[in-house]
Amino acid sequence: MASPCAVIGIGQTHHTARRDDVSIAGLVREAALRALEDAALDWRDIDAVVLGKAPDMFEGVMMPELYLADALGAVGKPLLRVHTAGSVGGSTAIVAASLIQAGIHERVLTVAFEKQSESNAMWALTVSTPLQATVVAGAGGYFSPLIRGYMRRSGAPEDTGIRVALKDRSNALKNPYAHLREPDISFERVASSPMLWDPIRFHETCPSSDGACAMVLSSERALSRGAHAPAWVHSTAMRSEPTQFAGQEKINPLAGRECAKELYRKAGIRDPRKEIDVAEIYVPFSWFEPMWMENLGFAPEGDGWKMTYEGATALDGDMPVNCSGGVLSSNPIGASGMLRFAEAAMQVRGQAGEHQIDGARVALGHAYGGGSQFFSMWIVGSARP
């Protein structure tokens, strides 16, 4: 029943620790204008805007879509604001796509951002609650025990995480927008970096970035004449589960497995590793690459690390993951999920530049958030579904 939806414009900012040259409005406009330019469209061509970002406390602006209405060219138009924790960039794109798929709009601008430098992520993520004891130190403190659990359960070699970090940071050198571009990155450099939340090392951790990402989505009849062919949305899926409950599989959450299953079913994919050419996965700490490889069905449970180890997830591997450098190299939290979705679309549009996988036709974008409980994913392809 749903109408086809295409990505016809993609834009992102240069991500960095502190974009002190722009306001919040300027940051989102930078990405939005690049997306409009890519689509060869103007503000007036847009029917509706869907904005996503993570907690408002990062910038201290409550429901910032209200303040950003003017900057997003949304005045007189529908404007939606999505917030699903870390997965928000992905879910925002999915909400935007559903507006096209439902036949409600012809062209939708979707934007996600975070300007983390206005405050401090460790503060905003662990605002203390009266009468409670704060013992979990930010995202790293939360996810590190899960990683230890994975290491113990899978028996993965201890340097798996180092290899992921080395790969992603090397890939980032091919991405002009990446935050961390470290030409001298090496196995030794990652391995010798200090433990922050043991077993997570400094160089196995995502940075804290300012940045934004935007996409123009279009119906089939409203396709514009941009320089690049459209990326078609083959399927989308979202799944959530509660934060903590008895019997929960925190390391390999069912919400993620079921989300992937639904995603593949809707896209007609039977063997994801064979049929998907390239994937952009939300990996904020290196070890999440092997964990998500299993969760996404690319590897049997306990074997995800082998893909990293054997080089399958490298640029020249059979299942390249995070060719852009991923979240490990740029992390404007609210935009990080949309960047995964956008980078997947860039691959099938052939516009990924130096980190392009030749002939990529089907790509996966993935985001997760909260306590590994919110998942959003899409499959995009060069062929009309």
Partner: protein
């Protein structure tokens, strides 16, 4: 457009301060709305609306998921907006054909903070928020512009309050209700001139939930579904000084798109937190004197932030389902001085 209806609605009893946590407030509301709907879990889609700043704690919506019934995992989303927009997102999902049923909920606990001050954090962070203008004072700017430019009187504001409080006597969920007199209200001191305390909404805690179902599912579970015949929302410029505060062009456009004018309106539930805003909204929607506006008492009698807009839709749907209205209009607002507005047209057949 795919046929989608509201098949059940539930809300908490809104109180000035609810000492329960968000799950404790929400869970009975969700249980009730699900039970009333006759729709068996799992829902094809779930969407909620809330904002972290009310309580000053990030990720309130994450904890709230405990009340929704998210196991086995559910297809779920959240807007940092009033629940009316969560309903919109769910309606869109049903329009794609990927879902036939949806659970929508919203909650707000405003009591822990100084709400008018907290809402100043919604303003432009460079030139407005640093001055800390409170939400009541901003609404009062709009009220004066409306009174002076439209040649209206404060008596007309009081009349809205009297009618709303009287209507709320029949609403067990309302926080304020009763028989007031215009003259006595006009003798009261100003809260933020030209607005008096009764012209402003009571601050309260509460939650609401709605179940949506498409076509035959709705017909199967509900004797008289409230069909969504049109729904649209629009936003205006943020800077108050760049807007005509005496009108609501975004409501007008949304109302036109939703098809308000395509038939006679029996009932309108308008999310007008401040008394003067009801007049602005009536005009924007072209509602005549014969329309029964806010039979629930409206936001002047209970305004749980983030849920109050969804409650307008639920109240309108309730009147379709109980047969008191054939065609109803519901409206929700967000942001300072009616910056963003949603309009929904509901019909019984």
């Amino acid at each position: 457009m795919r046929e989608v209806a509201i098949v059940s609605f539930s809300q908490s009893r809104h109180v000035r301060r609810d000492t329960r946590n968000e799950v404790e407030i929400l869970m009975p509301v969700v249980h009730e709305v699900v039970e009333r709907s006759g729709v068996a879990r799992p829902f094809d889609f779930t969407c909620s609306g809330s904002t972290d700043f009310l309580q000053g704690q990030p990720f309130a919506f994450v904890m709230a998921l405990d009340a929704a019934g998210a196991w086995p995992p559910i297809a779920e989303s959240h807007v940092e907006m009033d629940g009316a927009w969560a309903l919109y997102e769910a309606w869109v999902k049903l329009q794609t054909g990927e879902a036939d049923t949806a659970l929508v909920y919203a909650f707000g606990k405003s009591s822990p903070g100084d709400l008018p001050e907290v809402l100043s954090r919604q303003l432009d962070p460079y030139v407005l928020a640093p001055l800390w203008p409170d939400a009541v004072s901003l609404a009062a700017l709009q009220a004066r512009a409306w009174l002076e430019q439209k040649g209206r009187s404060e008596r007309e504001l009081a009349e809205v309050v009297v009618r709303s409080r009287r209507a709320a006597r029949a609403n067990p969920h309302a926080l304020l209700s009763g028989d007031l007199e215009v003259e006595k209200l006009l003798a009261e001191p100003y809260l933020a001139a030209p607005l008096r305390r009764h012209d402003a909404p009571p601050i309260c805690d509460g939650a609401a939930a709605v179940v949506l179902a498409a076509g035959d599912v709705a017909r199967r579970v509900c004797k008289r579904p409230a069909w969504i015949r049109g729904i649209d929302h629009r936003v205006e410029a943020h800077a108050l000084g760049a807007r005509d505060l005496t009108a609501s062009p975004s409501t007008r456009i949304a109302g036109e798109r939703a098809g308000v004018g395509r038939g006679a309106v029996d009932v309108a539930e308008l999310h007008a937190p401040f008394s003067h805003q009801e007049w602005i909204l009536r005009e924007a929607l072209g509602l005549g004197a014969g329309v029964d506006v806010n039979p629930s008492g409206g936001a002047l009698c209970a305004n749980p932030m983030m849920a109050a807009g969804l409650i307008r839709i639920g109240e309108a749907a309730r009147r379709i389902s109980d047969g008191t209205a054939r065609r109803a209009v519901a409206h929700a607002t967000s942001g300072p001085c009616l910056q963003q507005n949603l309009v929904c047209v509901l019909e019984g057949a």
